[in-house]
């Protein structure tokens, strides 16, 4: 192994001493030699951090995939209760906010302080609108009894609902549901065209559910079904008027199918919940950077933090782009 001749150095050949202290720009940290090094290090750090976020959400997406493969009915039934309009609107809002964020970064690179501040404010507004819609969605779900885990009371509510609204049992399959019958629901399915898409769905689902002997869960029998219902009843604190439904809401499936859909809502809340937490974190970061922009800390020479927060916001947007079709559209 031959070493190049300049390997060992005498003092004369040593690299030049670093520049005089305090000759570096005010925003350069002491352990960096140049601003370029500092900015590059920051960018590398941010991208590595984004990689970790992707790995974390990746785990959740993996759980989604496994769940969906094992419990397809859950997804097929559950997603019908999500409003794709809200989801699509949220997607557009986040895309627009990513646009304003990217523009804000450009603005500060061109030293357009006021424009940058305004654009970041718009980005923040986008986040607020997004979270607002999510709040509405969550509220609707919870009031309808379709929360995650132990907050899932859909089957009980459906039973009671159909018992009190006999005309709603037009939805095919519901009339045959033993639970509805037990609760005093009528067998009058009679006339009228049931809603096309609902019955289409329900037809398929009804066939599936009757094929499996009315067991709601893929892995359990009646005992397991009992267990869940008992657990839910035991742990659920709210017993509001189970028959009341939020405006525009109605049950499209018989109770046993709603029981099957339980996992869907767990994963919906997990994924959108974790995403929502990241949106809030992003909003906090944007707010902080906005303050610093207001204080004139950034200019065309130094704007790395704006860039890095922008990267974070883009990741948050990207995760939603994946979440939306997986939960709302398929």
């Amino acid at each position: 192994m031959s070493e190049p001749p300049t390997t060992t150095k005498t003092p004369e050949q040593a690299p030049p001493p670093p520049p005089e202290h305090h000759q570096h720009p005010p925003y350069q940290a002491h352990h960096f030699d140049t601003m370029v090094q500092q900015v590059d290090a920051g960018k590398l750090g941010m991208w590595v951090f984004l990689a970790t976020e992707i790995l974390m959400f990746g785990g959740l997406f993996c759980a989604y995939a496994v769940w969906r493969a094992n419990n397809f009915e859950a997804f097929d039934i559950g997603y019908a209760y999500l409003s794709w309009e809200y989801g699509a609107f949220n997607t557009l809002v986040l895309l627009a906010s990513s646009f304003t964020m990217a523009w804000a970064v450009r603005a500060i690179q061109l030293n357009q302080q006021a424009l940058c501040f305004t654009l970041m404010g718009l980005t923040l507004l986008g986040g607020v609108i997004f979270m607002g819609i999510k709040a509405i969605e969550y509220d609707t779900k919870f009031s309808a009894g379709m929360g995650p885990g132990i907050f899932y009371e859909a089957p009980e509510r459906a039973v009671k609902y159909f018992a009190e609204h006999p005309e709603a049992t037009e939805v095919a399959g519901v009339a045959d549901s033993p639970e509805v019958a037990d609760a005093g629901g009528t067998a009058e399915t009679a006339d009228a065209a049931p809603q096309d898409d609902a019955s289409g769905e329900a037809d398929g689902q009804a066939a599936a559910s009757t094929n499996t002997n009315g067991t709601a869960l893929p892995s359990g029998g009646e005992v397991a079904e009992q267990g869940i219902v008992e657990r839910v009843e035991r742990k659920t604190a709210r017993h509001a008027d189970l028959a009341e439904m939020p405006e525009g809401y109605y049950w499209k499936h018989p109770p046993e199918q709603l029981l099957q859909a339980r996992p869907f809502f767990s994963i919906y809340f997990l994924m959108t919940g974790l995403h929502g937490i990241h949106v809030l974190i992003g909003m906090g970061l944007i707010g902080w950077i906005m303050l610093r922009v207001k204080q004139g800390e950034f200019n065309s020479e130094y704007n790395a933090p704006v860039d890095l927060v922008g990267l974070y916001w883009h990741l948050v947007d990207l995760v939603w782009i994946f979440l939306f079709p997986l939960l709302y559209l398929i």
Binding site: E3, A14, I228
Partner: protein
């Protein structure tokens, strides 16, 4: 001779502990708690990690003492479950995963790289406080009923039954995970961006290659643990139904998620240790490392291959034979880069001028013990032999051989190797050797017999055992107590060194890496002037200087022999 020393970094006042160093740079507790100096953060981590090691060790002593006779000796079965769970969880999450990177890596990485600090000093301090925060959650867990699920928190026990401390403990691990991720992120950015002039990638010390590979695992694997733990917590708290079969979930899915992180995690544990061994073997053989590039690349190979073998923890869970075969094959392949390292260390030692100082004793112990432990991984990685060995003491012996005989030995070796650098004090070599002997003998007494026990069928995590295993358990327990004495002696040696040890010079061991070209303890900014990173493992040009009682760089550089 001494006046013509060629290094630009020598403290003008002389190398025997400069007047101003990182320890006395500023005073007061607040200056330590708010420090951004990686050296101080490293020292704080060291105290925290050694305390965790002591705590985890105490639980180990309780476990082993319980086993000194069949039946209940000190405690009932429920308490026993808590003891081994706490031993495992504390040792894994509070000691061994942060261990070398946080305590030794934080201190040494920037200095070995020839720079002033890590890329993100405030993030470094944040990592430390996250560690503390996670540790607090463990205390809360202890007070909430403890944990008895095993450190692996397998479902459905952990989600439905389990002692009351499961959620706080899992939250603690979640937080500790972020400490690990941010440390890894910091190291990656530092190594990419802040190398000294002249220090190309292949002139970096091998410890830094090891830390870099470890950092890759930290950032890629730990987030998956984070989400797994979140799923566990929500499952336990509100019954989302992902892992619980009664709710339509899949308990084995948890194991897949968990081991997807936890297998790479064991490489987080061992890679930095191997990096330390590379440094120790080079220094104490006074010879450049044989096959430098092979060792560097083998670290990366182990890091990457480690992501593909998690199923070897799950051969008996009912996964398909095809999956098992693939996991088994790739598990075997990881033996290759590990063996490459062992052969290269031995080749480094061959024809070197070996100095049997105490750090070298630890390095050599590592090579022997790690090889044994690694070899026992092969019957565990083979599906047919895994079946009778799974969940027996054979597994326990295997991982203690590689984690204690491997990582802990390397950690101790690195600790005493860098101790004079960190604190400027020497320790009693004689008593350090005594403690090494006690630890080495005690370790082998404790764990070798567990291989035999496991092959005879003694299951792990059992509070009771059949009378025919009594003698084995007693030998193992005696070994544990011998280790305890060894560790106490070592603690005494180190504390004595802090209080009354002799001051030392820049380069106590005659090493060549950059940290030995600055004062002991180092100044606040690590170097006076900019070091040049070109002379890696260049032992030809390191001479012992009688006058200074120190090793210095030769005045006229000698050409390398080949």
């Amino acid at each position: 001779m001494s006046t013509t020393a060629t290094n630009t970094n020598i403290e003008p006042h002389g190398p025997h502990g400069s007047e101003l160093n990182y320890l006395n740079h500023s005073r007061g507790l607040w200056s330590w708690l708010t420090t951004l100096d990686h050296k101080r953060i490293g020292v704080m981590y060291l105290v925290a990690i050694l305390s965790s090691f002591f705590l985890g060790g105490m639980f180990a002593i309780l476990v082993r003492t319980e086993h000194v006779a069949p039946g209940s000796t000190l405690m009932g079965s429920d308490m026993y479950n808590q003891m081994f769970t706490l031993h495992g969880a504390i040792m894994v999450f509070l000691f061994i995963i942060p261990g070398i990177p946080a305590a030794l890596g934080n201190f040494m990485l920037p200095i070995m790289l020839g720079t002033k600090d890590v890329a993100f000093p405030r993030l470094n301090l944040t990592s430390f406080y996250l560690w503390c925060f996670g540790a607090v959650f463990f205390v809360v867990a202890l007070l909430s009923g403890g944990i008895d699920t095993g450190w692996t928190f397998y479902t459905p026990y952990s989600t439905s039954l389990g002692a009351g401390g499961v959620i706080p403990a899992v939250m603690g691990v979640f937080i500790l995970g972020f400490s690990s991720i941010l440390t890894g992120l910091n190291f990656i950015a530092t190594i990419h961006m802040l190398r000294a002039p002249g220090m190309t990638w292949f002139r970096m010390p091998l410890f830094l290659w090891a830390l870099y590979s470890t950092a890759i695992i930290q950032i890629l694997a730990t987030p998956v643990l984070a989400i797994t733990l979140l799923l566990l917590i929500t499952e336990r708290a509100i019954g989302i139904g992902i892992f619980d079969p009664a709710l339509g979930g899949d308990a084995v899915l948890y194991q897949h998620f968990f081991w997807f992180y936890s297998h790479p995690a064991v490489y987080i544990m061992i890679l930095p240790a191997m990096g330390i061994v590379s440094e120790l073997v080079a220094t104490f053989s006074h010879k450049h490392v044989f096959g430098y590039k092979f060792i560097a690349f083998s670290s990366i190979a182990i890091a990457l291959l480690g992501f593909l073998v998690w199923g070897h923890h799950m051969f008996v869970t009912g996964q398909s034979a095809l999956a098992g075969t693939i996991f088994s094959l790739i598990t075997f392949s990881i033996a290759i880069p590990s063996a490459v390292k062992v052969f290269n260390w031995l080749a480094t030692m061959h024809d070197g001028s070996i100095d049997l100082k105490s750090p070298m004793l630890y390095a050599m112990s590592f090579i022997w013990v790690f090889t044994l432990g690694g070899l026992t991984g092969l019957p565990l990685g083979t599906m047919s032999t895994n079946i009778p060995l799974h969940d027996t003491y054979f597994v326990v012996a295997h991982f203690h051989y590689v984690m204690v005989g491997g990582t802990v030995f390397a950690f101790l070796g690195g600790l005493i190797y860098w101790w004079p650098k960190m604190f400027g004090k020497l320790f009693s070599e004689k008593w350090m050797v005594v403690s090494w002997a006690l630890i080495f003998i005690g370790f082998n007494l404790t764990f070798f017999i567990q291989f035999i026990m496991g092959m005879q069928g003694m299951p792990r995590r059992y509070a009771n055992y059949l009378p025919e295993f009594t003698l084995y358990h007693q030998v193992s327990t005696v070994g544990a107590w011998v280790q305890l004495i060894g560790f106490l002696v070592m603690a005494g040696v180190l504390l004595h060194s802090l209080m009354a040890g002799r001051r030392c010079g820049m380069n106590v061991w005659g090493a060549t890496t950059l940290e030995w070209q600055t004062a002991s303890p180092p100044p606040h900014e690590n170097f006076h002037g900019t070091p040049y990173g070109g002379n890696l493992y260049d032992f030809q040009n390191i001479d012992y200087d009688e006058e200074r009682d120190d090793y210095v760089r030769a005045a006229e550089p000698r050409q390398a022999e080949h």
